[in-house]
């Protein structure tokens, strides 16, 4: 019956079933974008708009759903269907939509507060159910829209409007939390590396199941420079590592550093001939234990010392698992084939009746 909506939609006007060849511009809505000048959200918006023509779906079959926050304004700027819903609930709304309309391409746009504070329950449930939607988590380690309170991803000691003495909460590690929730796709990108971001948006879209892409996003007004260590030209080579499936873990300005596994313990080695690439940790997107270890490359920037692991970017984990909406729709089909065309009259009549004359 899900499809029956499709049937009712007069698709004829679309002409042939081929997808129009869109450009990024076709996905820009008529609303002027209202983020602070210099906000990281702009680049992300640009990359998502750029990505849309690639995914091979008609505009009208794409839906962006967000909660509340600066990030959550996103849908207004996409010329697709969209809902700027309420704080934290986008995953639940998306689950209802995707389950009943599996043919749609559904995207969730959320912030670190929206998804890891008020919405954390729906967030983990979505991941566990593995509904086939794409979730872009704009992590700026702050509540932007409400003008600068610390968020669940803000490092301990963050001094913000609501924590003049510094925050005392231990923050979430969003990727570890996702793995703990049995996520099937866990990845990380950043606003300041648009090329790589573009690549990951494509990967995110391709994955069947809930794709969780964390995007480091700079809030220039309330938390400027939160990710400078990873975005700044100088520190970046040492502090970041880009993951490629099947490739060894190598980083550093001269690509002269590698990561090796000594039992369960990852260690940084210098590729000075002593150690060869073969000895290095080969990235395997399907190895959950390795993904877990990578998610723990999370030392706070302050923590100095050469042992410090670089922050991983790219796809940490990607495996295939049945999607929630597939299971549900399969049961409906199955019930139909078993019980045959439903007859309302039989249902109303029920198991036992009697006649009064």
């Amino acid at each position: 019956m899900a499809l029956d909506i499709e049937k009712q939609l007069d698709k004829t006007t679309n002409g042939s079933s081929t997808i129009p060849d869109y450009t990024g511009k076709d996905f820009a809505s008529d609303q002027d974008v209202r983020w602070c000048p210099g906000c990281g959200d702009y680049t992300i918006l640009k990359q998502v708009q750029k990505a849309m023509p690639e995914i091979g779906v008609r505009k009208e079959d794409i839906v962006f759903i967000s909660g509340i926050g600066c990030a959550a304004r996103f849908p207004y700027y996409m010329d697709t269907f969209g809902m700027h819903s309420i704080h934290g609930r986008a995953p639940a709304i998306a689950t209802g939509l995707k389950t009943s309309r599996p043919e749609l391409s559904v995207w969730i746009i959320t912030g670190d507060g929206d998804s890891l504070s008020i919405g954390a329950n729906h967030f983990v449930q979505l991941l566990r159910r593995n509904v086939n939607v794409n979730l872009l988590l704009f992590n700026n380690q702050i509540y932007g829209l409400t003008k600068g309170q610390y968020s669940p991803t803000a490092p301990e000691g963050s001094v913000t409007k609501s924590t003049p003495y510094g925050s005392v909460d231990h923050p979430f590690n969003p990727l570890s939390l996702s793995l703990g929730a049995d996520s099937t796709f866990v990845a990380r990108a950043m606003d300041r590396d648009p090329r790589h971001l573009q690549e990951l948006i494509q990967r995110t879209n391709k994955h069947r199941g809930t794709s969780m892409l964390e995007i480091y996003q700079n809030c220039i007004v309330f938390n400027d420079g939160a990710f400078e260590l990873f975005t700044d030209k100088k520190s970046r080579p040492r502090e970041t590592i880009y993951l490629e499936h099947g490739e060894p873990l190598i980083f550093g300005k001269e690509k002269d550093k590698g990561i090796r596994l000594d039992g369960l313990r990852p260690e940084i080695v210098s590729l000075d001939g002593e150690v060869s690439k073969e000895d290095l940790w080969i990235h395997d997107e399907e190895d959950q234990t390795k993904a877990w270890l990578l998610s723990r490359f999370f030392d706070s920037p302050e923590n100095e010392g050469e042992a410090r692991m670089p922050r991983p970017f790219g796809v940490l984990y990607a495996v295939d698992r049945p999607c929630y909406e597939e299971g549900v729709n399969a049961q409906i089909e199955q019930a139909l084939s078993q019980k045959g065309e439903p007859d309302l009259d039989t249902l109303l009549e029920g198991p036992e009746t009697w006649v009064v004359k």
């Binding site: 009208e60 969209g82 209802g96 309309r101 729906h122 009549e349």
Partner: protein, 625 residues
């Protein structure tokens, strides 16, 4: 032997025993027989509180009450004429519900030391012996023993043999009330077709019970309850929650919208989820969400996609949905919210009934967020009322709150179920696709009923964004413009109020269109109020009964109707809620009659309250304070 035969207009029997004694089955079998015989009837099961208590204890008692008669039967009966108790705990738990002079049929083997202790009777206190039951007509039968004897030469295990106890009672009662055994025998044969010896045993015991009545001296009187004059037709028995399930499926079928049901379990609403999850072949989606917020949110998501989005819960869960319902209000999407009410506040008394969530339904959200509110009046009426809830929601693009309660949810009555063809068609149409048109699509342009189009994803050329921020008239773009906000607030209310033109005018259920006194009720109090008004009118009182299904908006003519009466009394199972809405809306000195005991009004109870209320001079109690 000589036996007297009496005719009774109506009888109430209460079957009570341990959860294991099969009283629910016994009750429903008697119910079916009575129904087949053409009696009108109402039933109400009472299960032990949520979790299963130890066998033989008072919390472990399970009961089933049946009220049947040759006249119109509208309630399961306040008190019973016959109380069947399979053990002493059952007696303790239910004696208060037996009318003075009533009959007790006691299974004496349920009154041995062990059972008396389990039921917390003082040592060597035994109600059957200490004369404490002298006001009642007690009939002691050793049902357990007699059952075992009658099956002495059977191969069955002791456990299986004892399981037949309830058939003995049933047989006995069939004799007392002159009933045939055939339908029950038929049922047993069908049910146990897999293992005939069980069927046989049950049937044997059933007959033994019947003959026991015939042959022993103990039972000297029999009763006949003639058939009632019920409109001819095909009937079935149905509970409120089952009727709700059917109504939702029917609305989905008649509107052509797939039903998406997002819910989180809670007493007494869970059975709606259970019932719908069996209807997958009707294309019904049931989503057991992580909580009530996700439940309602998923329904909103599905509604955005073009499904009939429904969510259900009870009081505390509905409280959690308030924010999201507000979203549906401003999005102007269809959404049906079922509240199977229970006694509050807070967790309250989950297994007890109450009508105290009406104000929450009306006002339990931030800002001005008008919704429609409807309420069913009887188990069978849940079907039509929930169907109406769906119709209003789909045709007017607005959230509708449906207020049932625990009493309706589990209670049952005969239902002359409709044919599909007799059901209204719910007409919904989607905004068509519009390619090539250059001008901006306007998702918030309205028709003459102030209703906006349902514009669903997948439709080319009408891509648009909706959200919880105030929106500009017509375009739906975000707007903070002062006059626009006022306009939108008024429009959303006008849309709700306009529903009044698409619902029937209010009828007076019983009595004249005007007169001295009117009882205005809503929801599950229907049966009681109707009975009370009926009796008071017979006693010559000028009193009428108005029962509301549509509470928001009220039917157009309600104000005029109310103006026709000197006394407006509003009985509710709460501390006064509908009465507030009426006083405010129509500025009439309506007065409340309120019981907040977690159970329906008793007929005598309400009758008295009405008489007392009328004794008081109106003016003096105009202030509710």
């Amino acid at each position: 032997m000589s036996e007297k035969d009496f005719v009774r207009e109506d009888v109430t029997i209460r079957f009570a025993g341990d959860s294991g004694d099969g009283m629910q089955l016994t009750g429903s079998l008697f119910t079916n027989t009575a129904a087949l015989r053409g009696n009108d009837l109402r039933t109400l099961p009472e299960f032990p509180a949520e979790i299963r208590a130890p066998a033989g204890t008072v919390p472990g008692v399970s009961s089933f009450q049946l009220h049947f008669g040759s006249k119109e039967i509208l309630t399961p009966g306040d008190v019973c004429d016959v109380l069947v108790v399979m053990n002493s705990a059952a007696l303790k738990a239910n004696l208060a519900l037996l009318k003075r002079g009533g009959t007790i049929i006691a299974n004496i083997s349920g009154f041995d030391k062990r059972n008396l202790n389990l039921a917390n009777y003082e040592d060597d206190e035994n109600p059957l012996e200490d004369g404490s039951l002298s006001d009642y007509h007690v009939m002691e039968v050793d049902i357990t023993k007699l059952t075992r004897e009658s099956l002495s030469d059977s191969e069955l295990s002791h456990k299986d043999i004892d399981r037949c106890k309830n058939m003995f009672v049933l047989g006995l009662l069939y004799w007392m009330y002159n009933r045939e055994l055939d339908s029950t025998i038929g049922f047993l044969e069908k049910k146990f077709s897999k293992n005939p010896e069980i069927a046989e045993a049950n049937i044997k015991v059933l007959k033994e019970g019947y003959h026991y009545g015939e042959t022993t001296e103990v039972f000297t009187s029999r009763y006949t309850v003639k058939e009632a004059s019920i409109p001819p037709g095909t009937y079935r028995n149905i509970t409120g929650n089952d009727a709700t399930v059917l109504g939702l499926v029917a609305a989905s079928q008649r509107s052509g919208r797939p039903l998406f049901f997002g819910s989180y379990p809670i007493t007494p609403a869970s059975d709606v989820l259970h019932g719908l999850s069996k209807q997958k072949h009707f294309g019904v989606y049931t989503f057991q969400a992580e909580d009530e917020i996700a439940a309602v949110s998923s329904a909103i998501g599905a509604a955005f996609g073009g499904s009939l989005g429904v969510t259900s819960s009870s009081g505390p869960g509905i409280a959690l949905k308030g924010e999201a319902i507000g979203l549906a209000v401003i999005l102007e999407l269809p959404l049906v919210v079922l509240n199977i009410q229970r006694a509050g506040p807070s967790t309250g008394m989950p297994t007890k009934t109450e009508q105290a969530d009406l104000m929450q339904a009306m006002y339990g959200r931030n800002g001005e967020s008008p919704v429609a509110v409807v309420a069913p009046r009887s188990p069978a009426d849940c079907f039509e009322t929930v169907f109406e809830a769906c119709r209003i929601s789909l045709e007017h693009m607005i959230p509708v709150m449906y207020l049932s309660d625990g009493f309706l949810a589990n209670g049952s009555e005969p239902w002359k179920f409709p044919q599909t063809k007799d059901l209204k068609k719910i007409d919904v149409s989607f905004e068509p696709s519009r390619n090539g048109t250059p001008e901006k699509y306007l998702p918030y342009v309205r028709d003459e009923r102030h209703v906006r189009p349902w514009a669903v994803p997948g439709t080319a050329g009408i891509e648009h964004r909706v959200g919880g921020l105030e929106k500009e008239d017509e375009t739906g773009d975000v707007s903070y413009e002062p006059d626009n906000h006022q306009k939108m607030v008024k429009l959303r209310r006008a849309k709700r109020d306009a529903i009044a033109d698409f619902i029937p005018l209010q009828e007076v259920d019983n009595g004249h269109e005007q007169g001295e006194t009117v009882l205005v009720g809503w929801g599950s109090t229907y049966g009681t109020i109707r009975t009370v008004v009926h009796e008071l009118r017979q006693e010559g009182m000028d009193i009428s009964h108005i029962h509301l299904r549509y509470i928001s908006p009220f039917p157009r003519n309600l104000g005029d109707l109310l103006d026709g009466f000197d006394n407006i009394l509003v009985p509710e199972i709460n501390d006064g809620q509908l009465v507030k809405l009426i006083r405010d809306e129509y500025f009439v000195p309506a007065r409340g009659i309120n019981k907040i005991k977690g159970r329906p009004f008793g007929i005598e109870e309400l009758k008295q309250e009405v008489q007392e209320a009328l004794a008081v001079k109106k003016g003096t109690v105009q202030s509710q304070s």
